[in-house]
Protein backbone atom coordinates (compact mmCIF):
# COMPACT_ATOMS: atom_id res chain seq x y z
CA UNK A 1 0.00 0.00 0.00
CA UNK A 2 2.73 2.40 0.92
CA UNK A 3 4.63 1.48 -2.22
CA UNK A 4 1.60 2.41 -4.29
CA UNK A 5 1.70 5.90 -2.83
CA UNK A 6 5.41 6.31 -3.41
CA UNK A 7 5.01 5.27 -7.03
CA UNK A 8 2.07 7.59 -7.46
CA UNK A 9 4.09 10.52 -6.21
CA UNK A 10 7.19 9.63 -8.16
CA UNK A 11 9.27 9.16 -5.01
CA UNK A 12 10.87 5.85 -5.97
CA UNK A 13 13.97 4.76 -7.78
CA UNK A 14 13.87 3.50 -11.32
CA UNK A 15 14.37 -0.10 -10.12
CA UNK A 16 11.50 0.12 -7.66
CA UNK A 17 9.21 1.42 -10.36
CA UNK A 18 10.15 -1.33 -12.77
CA UNK A 19 9.65 -3.93 -10.08
CA UNK A 20 6.22 -2.56 -9.28
CA UNK A 21 5.18 -2.37 -12.93
CA UNK A 22 5.97 -6.05 -13.27
CA UNK A 23 4.03 -6.81 -10.11
CA UNK A 24 0.96 -4.94 -11.33
CA UNK A 25 0.75 -7.05 -14.44
CA UNK A 26 -0.24 -9.95 -12.27
CA UNK A 27 -2.01 -8.17 -9.43
CA UNK A 28 -5.42 -6.83 -10.33
CA UNK A 29 -6.22 -5.11 -6.98
CA UNK A 30 -2.96 -3.14 -7.10
CA UNK A 31 -3.46 -2.30 -10.74
CA UNK A 32 -7.00 -1.03 -10.23
CA UNK A 33 -6.20 0.87 -7.11
CA UNK A 34 -3.28 2.54 -8.84
CA UNK A 35 -5.42 3.53 -11.83
CA UNK A 36 -7.97 5.19 -9.55
CA UNK A 37 -5.29 6.97 -7.53
CA UNK A 38 -3.69 8.33 -10.67
CA UNK A 39 -7.04 9.51 -12.00
CA UNK A 40 -7.80 11.36 -8.76
CA UNK A 41 -4.37 12.94 -8.69
CA UNK A 42 -4.87 14.15 -12.23
CA UNK A 43 -8.35 15.41 -11.39
CA UNK A 44 -6.98 17.46 -8.49
CA UNK A 45 -4.36 18.88 -10.80
CA UNK A 46 -6.86 19.80 -13.50
CA UNK A 47 -9.76 21.03 -11.42
CA UNK A 48 -8.42 22.49 -8.19
CA UNK A 49 -6.09 25.26 -9.31
CA UNK A 50 -8.81 27.79 -8.59
CA UNK A 51 -8.99 31.36 -9.72
CA UNK A 52 -6.07 33.63 -10.42
CA UNK A 53 -5.18 36.09 -7.71
CA UNK A 54 -7.18 39.31 -8.07
CA UNK A 55 -5.29 41.90 -10.08
CA UNK A 56 -5.43 44.53 -7.37
CA UNK A 57 -3.65 42.19 -4.97
CA UNK A 58 -0.29 42.63 -6.69
CA UNK A 59 -0.77 46.40 -6.67
CA UNK A 60 -1.61 46.34 -2.97
CA UNK A 61 1.42 44.20 -2.20
CA UNK A 62 3.70 46.55 -4.12
CA UNK A 63 2.20 49.61 -2.49
CA UNK A 64 2.66 48.11 0.97
CA UNK A 65 6.28 47.24 0.34
CA UNK A 66 7.19 50.59 -1.17
CA UNK A 67 5.52 52.36 1.73
CA UNK A 68 7.31 50.42 4.45
CA UNK A 69 10.53 50.56 2.55
CA UNK A 70 10.57 54.32 2.18
Amino acid sequence: MEMLQLILDGQVTHEQREYFKAHMESCMPCFKSHQVDMAIKQLVKDRCCGEDAPGELILQIRAQITQKNA
Binding site: Q35, I40, L43, V44, K45, R47, C48, E51, A53, I65
Partner: protein, 196 residues
Protein backbone atom coordinates in the same frame (compact mmCIF):
# COMPACT_ATOMS: atom_id res chain seq x y z
CA UNK B 1 12.27 32.70 9.89
CA UNK B 2 14.29 30.16 7.98
CA UNK B 3 17.42 28.28 8.75
CA UNK B 4 20.58 29.17 6.92
CA UNK B 5 22.90 32.08 6.63
CA UNK B 6 21.70 35.60 6.37
CA UNK B 7 22.24 37.04 2.91
CA UNK B 8 23.17 40.57 2.02
CA UNK B 9 21.30 42.16 -0.85
CA UNK B 10 21.25 45.68 -2.21
CA UNK B 11 17.86 47.36 -2.55
CA UNK B 12 17.92 46.69 -6.28
CA UNK B 13 18.68 43.02 -5.70
CA UNK B 14 15.88 42.73 -3.19
CA UNK B 15 13.47 44.18 -5.67
CA UNK B 16 14.71 41.87 -8.37
CA UNK B 17 14.34 38.76 -6.22
CA UNK B 18 10.90 39.87 -5.20
CA UNK B 19 9.76 40.46 -8.77
CA UNK B 20 11.42 37.48 -10.42
CA UNK B 21 11.33 34.80 -7.77
CA UNK B 22 8.46 35.67 -5.45
CA UNK B 23 5.70 37.33 -7.46
CA UNK B 24 5.42 34.65 -10.18
CA UNK B 25 4.00 32.32 -7.51
CA UNK B 26 1.13 34.61 -6.63
CA UNK B 27 -1.62 32.53 -8.21
CA UNK B 28 -0.46 29.34 -6.51
CA UNK B 29 -0.18 31.25 -3.24
CA UNK B 30 -3.65 32.68 -3.61
CA UNK B 31 -5.10 29.25 -4.30
CA UNK B 32 -3.27 27.81 -1.30
CA UNK B 33 -4.61 30.64 0.87
CA UNK B 34 -8.08 30.02 -0.45
CA UNK B 35 -7.90 26.27 0.18
CA UNK B 36 -6.78 26.91 3.73
CA UNK B 37 -9.35 29.54 4.65
CA UNK B 38 -12.08 28.81 2.09
CA UNK B 39 -12.70 32.56 1.91
CA UNK B 40 -11.49 34.77 -0.90
CA UNK B 41 -11.00 37.86 1.28
CA UNK B 42 -9.08 35.90 3.88
CA UNK B 43 -6.96 34.35 1.16
CA UNK B 44 -6.12 37.82 -0.12
CA UNK B 45 -5.12 39.03 3.33
CA UNK B 46 -3.05 35.94 3.93
CA UNK B 47 -1.19 36.30 0.64
CA UNK B 48 -0.61 40.00 1.14
CA UNK B 49 0.72 39.38 4.62
CA UNK B 50 2.95 36.58 3.34
CA UNK B 51 4.52 38.74 0.64
CA UNK B 52 5.04 41.52 3.12
CA UNK B 53 6.86 39.16 5.47
CA UNK B 54 8.80 37.65 2.60
CA UNK B 55 10.12 41.07 1.66
CA UNK B 56 10.91 41.98 5.24
CA UNK B 57 12.85 38.77 5.77
CA UNK B 58 14.24 38.57 2.26
CA UNK B 59 17.79 38.29 3.58
CA UNK B 60 17.01 34.88 5.03
CA UNK B 61 16.12 33.72 1.55
CA UNK B 62 19.02 32.30 -0.38
CA UNK B 63 18.95 32.90 -4.10
CA UNK B 64 18.76 29.77 -6.19
CA UNK B 65 16.87 27.85 -3.52
CA UNK B 66 13.21 26.97 -3.83
CA UNK B 67 11.36 30.27 -3.51
CA UNK B 68 7.97 28.66 -3.85
CA UNK B 69 8.52 26.28 -0.93
CA UNK B 70 9.91 29.17 1.13
CA UNK B 71 6.83 31.29 0.42
CA UNK B 72 4.42 28.44 1.07
CA UNK B 73 6.03 27.86 4.44
CA UNK B 74 5.57 31.50 5.43
CA UNK B 75 1.95 31.40 4.31
CA UNK B 76 1.27 28.20 6.22
CA UNK B 77 2.84 29.68 9.37
CA UNK B 78 0.83 32.88 9.01
CA UNK B 79 -2.29 30.80 8.67
CA UNK B 80 -1.57 28.86 11.84
CA UNK B 81 -0.27 31.75 13.93
CA UNK B 82 -2.56 34.54 12.85
CA UNK B 83 -5.61 33.25 11.11
CA UNK B 84 -6.29 30.10 13.07
CA UNK B 85 -5.81 31.92 16.34
CA UNK B 86 -8.24 34.60 15.25
CA UNK B 87 -10.94 32.18 14.25
CA UNK B 88 -10.14 29.89 17.17
CA UNK B 89 -10.72 26.86 15.08
CA UNK B 90 -9.60 23.91 17.13
CA UNK B 91 -7.53 21.21 15.50
CA UNK B 92 -9.93 18.42 14.95
CA UNK B 93 -7.65 15.64 13.92
CA UNK B 94 -6.21 13.24 16.37
CA UNK B 95 -2.91 12.43 14.72
CA UNK B 96 -2.05 9.82 17.26
CA UNK B 97 -5.03 7.92 16.05
CA UNK B 98 -4.10 8.48 12.43
CA UNK B 99 -0.55 7.32 12.96
CA UNK B 100 -1.51 4.14 14.74
CA UNK B 101 -4.14 3.48 12.14
CA UNK B 102 -1.60 3.81 9.41
CA UNK B 103 0.94 1.63 11.11
CA UNK B 104 -1.51 -1.11 11.96
CA UNK B 105 -1.70 -4.33 10.05
CA UNK B 106 -5.21 -3.59 8.93
CA UNK B 107 -4.26 -0.78 6.64
CA UNK B 108 -3.57 -2.99 3.66
CA UNK B 109 -6.67 -5.03 4.16
CA UNK B 110 -9.16 -2.29 4.76
CA UNK B 111 -12.11 -2.02 2.46
CA UNK B 112 -11.28 0.78 0.13
CA UNK B 113 -14.19 2.70 -1.28
CA UNK B 114 -15.00 1.23 -4.61
CA UNK B 115 -14.44 3.87 -7.17
CA UNK B 116 -13.95 3.34 -10.84
CA UNK B 117 -11.94 5.39 -13.26
CA UNK B 118 -14.89 5.89 -15.58
CA UNK B 119 -16.88 7.44 -12.72
CA UNK B 120 -14.01 9.86 -12.13
CA UNK B 121 -13.94 10.81 -15.78
CA UNK B 122 -17.45 12.17 -15.46
CA UNK B 123 -16.48 14.50 -12.66
CA UNK B 124 -15.87 17.49 -14.81
CA UNK B 125 -17.51 20.07 -12.57
CA UNK B 126 -16.76 21.14 -9.02
CA UNK B 127 -17.09 17.68 -7.51
CA UNK B 128 -13.41 17.17 -6.82
CA UNK B 129 -12.91 20.72 -5.60
CA UNK B 130 -15.90 20.48 -3.24
CA UNK B 131 -14.80 17.09 -1.98
CA UNK B 132 -11.34 18.47 -1.27
CA UNK B 133 -12.73 21.51 0.53
CA UNK B 134 -14.86 19.24 2.71
CA UNK B 135 -11.76 17.58 4.16
CA UNK B 136 -10.18 18.79 7.37
CA UNK B 137 -7.70 21.56 6.65
CA UNK B 138 -4.61 19.45 7.44
CA UNK B 139 -5.67 16.76 5.02
CA UNK B 140 -6.63 19.31 2.39
CA UNK B 141 -3.20 20.87 2.72
CA UNK B 142 -1.15 17.77 1.99
CA UNK B 143 -3.18 16.97 -1.12
CA UNK B 144 -2.79 20.49 -2.45
CA UNK B 145 0.94 20.54 -1.80
CA UNK B 146 1.54 17.14 -3.31
CA UNK B 147 -0.93 16.67 -6.13
CA UNK B 148 -1.54 20.21 -7.25
CA UNK B 149 1.73 21.96 -6.52
CA UNK B 150 3.96 18.96 -7.04
CA UNK B 151 6.09 19.34 -3.93
CA UNK B 152 8.22 16.36 -2.94
CA UNK B 153 7.70 14.76 0.48
CA UNK B 154 10.88 16.34 1.73
CA UNK B 155 9.76 19.81 0.71
CA UNK B 156 6.35 19.21 2.24
CA UNK B 157 7.98 18.16 5.50
CA UNK B 158 9.85 21.48 5.57
CA UNK B 159 6.81 23.55 4.65
CA UNK B 160 4.67 21.88 7.29
CA UNK B 161 7.37 21.36 9.93
CA UNK B 162 6.56 17.69 10.32
CA UNK B 163 8.62 14.52 9.76
CA UNK B 164 8.51 12.85 6.35
CA UNK B 165 6.83 9.80 7.86
CA UNK B 166 3.99 12.01 8.99
CA UNK B 167 3.74 13.57 5.54
CA UNK B 168 3.28 10.11 4.07
CA UNK B 169 0.75 8.87 6.59
CA UNK B 170 -1.25 12.09 6.46
CA UNK B 171 -1.28 11.97 2.70
CA UNK B 172 -2.39 8.37 2.72
CA UNK B 173 -5.26 9.13 5.09
CA UNK B 174 -6.21 12.28 3.16
CA UNK B 175 -6.49 10.34 -0.06
CA UNK B 176 -8.55 7.70 1.63
CA UNK B 177 -10.99 10.32 2.88
CA UNK B 178 -11.10 12.04 -0.49
CA UNK B 179 -11.87 8.74 -2.14
CA UNK B 180 -14.73 8.16 0.27
CA UNK B 181 -16.23 11.51 -0.64
CA UNK B 182 -15.79 10.92 -4.34
CA UNK B 183 -17.39 7.52 -4.17
CA UNK B 184 -20.44 9.14 -2.58
CA UNK B 185 -20.59 11.52 -5.54
CA UNK B 186 -20.19 8.61 -7.90
CA UNK B 187 -23.05 6.81 -6.22
CA UNK B 188 -25.26 9.86 -6.48
CA UNK B 189 -24.44 10.05 -10.17
CA UNK B 190 -25.76 6.55 -10.55
CA UNK B 191 -22.61 4.48 -10.60
CA UNK B 192 -23.22 1.25 -8.81
CA UNK B 193 -20.74 -0.51 -6.66
CA UNK B 194 -20.79 -3.72 -8.52
CA UNK B 195 -17.19 -4.62 -8.00
CA UNK B 196 -16.97 -5.12 -4.26
Amino acid sequence: MEEGERQHYTEAEKQEIFDREFLPHINAMYNFGYRLTLERDDAKDLVQDTYFKAFRFIESFQRGTNAKAWLFRILKNSFINDYRKKTKEPTKVDYQEVESYYNSEDVDRQITPDLRVDALKDMIGDEISNALNALDVDFRTVIILCDLEGFKYEEMAKILDIPIGTVRSRLHRARQLLKEKLSLYAKSMGYKNTEL
